[in-house]
Assembly symmetry: C2
Homo-oligomer: 160 residues x 2
DNA sequence: CCTTGACCTGAAGTCAGGTTTAGGTTCTAT
DNA sequence: ATAGAACCTAAACCTGACTTCAGGTCAAGG
């Protein structure tokens, strides 16, 4: 079975050696082999790194990823827990994607806004434009970006 | 013109008072008014908070957002810089969304993987399945999640 | 009057996720 | 067999984005 040194892993995954050691310290490679102190990485740890990256991007912290890796080391008794984790993280990622869609809408609206300001030499006109008067392609951006602002107007007072 | 106290802003935006003061300290509200030391927030700062949230999600740091807010305070001479910033951040957000798409593909592949493992009582079979043998709806997930792994096989040696 | 609640400040503390440092050990090629 | 490259550890340090703390001001109501 192919084995790799920490330096080879670092090159292959473009991750600093110090980070790989940090991950090991945090318990992200349970059962990592060593020969006379030197770490021997295998395809198992390579796959772990891919999963670490995935779970990190999905919003998990290192400590939670450690828990997952421990489940992996425990074997078949934890399949359901592992599947359920991926189900939860799917929802987390989808929510983050919705937030990014709104962010993107705001960004594109602002691009248009400043294009207008540049053309006019001032923001005075564009600032006054109501959604209904905006170009077809801009209005939906505005609506999405600012959607939680129509209704929420006076939610500051009496909500019990 | 409607003015708000820091407490009202905190309620309206669901942001801790300590964070609003921190943002002020970091220069995110240039030209914020005060009467005898007490901050008076207006629609201007409300809009600033929406933009702060947007720019933060797009990946900017507080210091960079401060620069943007200073441009806003400088007036019409900075419209182009502000537009260009939003153009750059659009690209940043799109890239993050692509990464999340890959993350999601990996997550959904893993869900399927563990479903199989649960059915079989072991990972032994599912681990062996080549992309070509995977169900129609799973293969594309696998391909997307692991796409940088077919070609990159031996990029460790000689790349000049 | 005097207490209570909402505001203020500067400085220190926290937390996650690494990175750097200092001092050693092991491998590999000549 | 020896130099240099690549590895090791523990512990300190770093950064960003807040949060908490200790102590103080100020306006309004009982």
């Amino acid at each position: 079975m192919q084995m790799y040194t920490i330096g080879q892993m670092s090159d292959m995954f473009q991750i600093p050696i110090s980070t790989l050691r940090y991950y090991d310290r945090e318990g992200l490679f349970p059962g990592l082999e060593r020969t006379s102190g030197i770490r021997k990485f295998s395809e198992k740890e390579a796959e772990a790194l891919r999963v670490i990256d995935c779970l990190k991007r999905s919003g998990l912290e290192i400590r939670e990823i450690k828990t997952f890796m421990e489940w992996c080391a425990e074997g078949s008794s934890t399949y359901k827990q592992r599947r359920d984790l991926f189900v939860r993280q799917e929802e987390a990622v989808r929510e983050e994607m919705r937030r990014l869609e709104k962010t993107l809408a705001m960004i594109r609206y602002k691009q248009w806004y400043y294009e207008q300001a540049i053309k006019d030499g001032t923001e005075d006109r564009v600032r006054q434009i109501a959604p209904e008067e905006m170009p077809e392609d801009i209005r939906p951006l505005y609506e999405l970006a600012f959607e939680d602002m129509k209704t929420d107007r006076k939610q500051t007072e009496k909500d019990s």
